[in-house]
Amino acid sequence: MELRLSKVGHSYAGREVLRGIDLEVPQGQIVCIVGPSGCGKSTLLRMMGGLEVPAQGDVLQVGYPPEGCLNPLTFIFQDFALLPWRSVAGNVSLVLEDHPIGRAERREMVADVLARTRLTEFADALPRQLSGGMKQRVAIARALVVRPAVMLMDEPLSALDSQTRELLMDDLVNLWIRQPFTAVYVTHNLAEAVRLGHRIFVLSRRPGELREVIQLDKPLAERGYGDAELEVQQKHLWDLMRAEAAAADAELVGG
């Protein structure tokens, strides 16, 4: 299943935040969307997941989700969005409880996904006992358990410190290598974009328009921390965005 956006535009209370966005999310690839703050990239992601309706244009899903998929468009949120009153296993099992799955099978699915995200020994822990990185791993496990067709990640690593971020990036890369998934990854962190993206869409400041599309052909497995080739790409991205980011920063918030 693929996602296709055609001429998507949106405004909040008369302020245009997005204009004429055309993009495609091909199957089995990670698409990154970068842009200065306030450019509407998170809005764009919420539209892709059906949490918001674009004022102009269409968000289309092309083809059908694969068999066994319980929630085709699945989010991973910046602030994790874990229920604090449920254990790690309980948070994962929450999203299965509305589906006609037997108790035993559900427990098996939860155990399997916790093993894949290396959380098995924390199954009974409460979110408040976990570090930020652990919480996001739980959120990733919760997203994986519904076998999504497209994962929609909204700045998933932005609330974490830089070391945890590196570790989780490795985790995501390993998960993708073992079983390639389709994902849209919204971030303002260019290092994350060049590490994880097969394709990077650069948005301008508000109203967000597509500035450039960058294709990265180096396989994910070969990209690493401090990769010289990626540094060049990152610098190119920064050169593209620098003026935009500075201008966006100087704007009055909501003014």
């Binding site: 997941g49 059906g50 949490l51 319980l70 929630n71 468009l73 699945t74 989010f75 949120f77 602030d79 969005a81 229920l83 604090p84 009153w85 449920r86 929450l94 999203v95 409880e97 509305d98 409460l126 979110p127 408040r128 919760r142 519904v146």
Partner: protein
């Protein structure tokens, strides 16, 4: 390598970060009670406090013991507890239900919120004559008064608690395709539980106040009737014995809610 200069000028940085943190000091509350009682006992014995202003604590205690041994204690306490239980249970459960509806549906909110605001400030005791006509002179009017009194604060606490539930969690539930019922039962209700229980603390204290008021206005038995009778005879020992029972009742209710909180809200730190 340490220079002489540094050694001479070195001073410990003074600590100034104390206070303003909460520490558990269970015994202090108990101590305050004991000191106050001892003061009263000493004052009444030495004559500093005249027996007309304050009864001697030991006399109050003795009255209480007599009340217990004569069997009158339970004759008064059981009907009171029953009224409190039935009235508060009715009012709190209805209040939570209506509060949830107000919190969840904008139509209900628009329709009922002004009504709740209108009945909140009414002193419910003023309505007792009306309740007597509506629900009868017996238990019915007392249940109604207590239920009505606990209802409004519970409604307000509940819908405020629902409003305070983290919207990102609800958004998360929707993004995973959870049903409306699941979102309410597994996300909204547990998320609102801290606020609901905090509201119940207030509602149940109000329930005890109304219980006494209802019993003062027409009951043969009950703590309120007991206190009223003692008051009209200016029997301070019995009056205070009744008041102590009410205080203990309040402390017990608060302890029960505390236990429920520890059980239901163990996920908070």
């Amino acid at each position: 390598m340490r220079s002489l200069l540094v050694d001479k000028l070195a001073q410990k940085v003074a600590f100034r970060g104390g206070g303003f943190t909460f520490q558990s000091r269970r015994w202090v509350g108990f101590l305050v009670f004991v000191v106050l009682l001892l003061l009263a006992e000493w004052g009444t014995r030495s004559g500093v406090i005249s027996p007309l202003t304050l009864p001697r604590p030991t006399d109050v205690f003795q009255t209480f013991v007599e009340l217990y041994s004569s069997g009158l204690l339970f004759q008064h306490l059981i009907p009171s507890l029953l009224r409190l239980l039935v009235g508060a249970a009715l009012g709190a459960s209805l209040g939570i239900a209506v509060g949830l509806l107000i919190g969840l549906f904008s139509f209900v909110r628009a329709g009922l919120l002004p009504l709740v605001a209108a009945i909140f400030p009414i002193p419910k005791i003023a309505l007792l004559p009306l309740f007597v006509i509506w629900f009868g002179i017996d238990e019915g009017s007392k249940y109604a008064l207590i239920a009505f009194g606990t209802f409004t604060p519970t409604v307000v606490a509940t819908f405020a608690a629902v409003d305070n539930v983290d919207r990102t969690l609800i958004r998360m539930g929707q993004s995973f395709g959870l049903s409306w019922v699941s979102i309410v039962r597994k996300i909204v209700l547990p998320g609102a539980m801290p606020g609901i229980l905090a509201g119940l603390r207030i509602s149940l204290a109000i329930a005890i106040i109304l219980l006494v008021a209802a019993e003062m206005l027409g009951a043969e038995f009950g703590i309120g009737a007991y206190i009223l009778e003692a008051g009209s005879l200016y029997d301070l020992e019995r009056l205070f014995a009744g008041v102590v029972i009410l205080s203990v009742l309040g402390v017990l209710v608060s302890a029960v809610i505390g236990a429920v909180e520890r059980r239901l809200l163990d996920w908070r730190t």
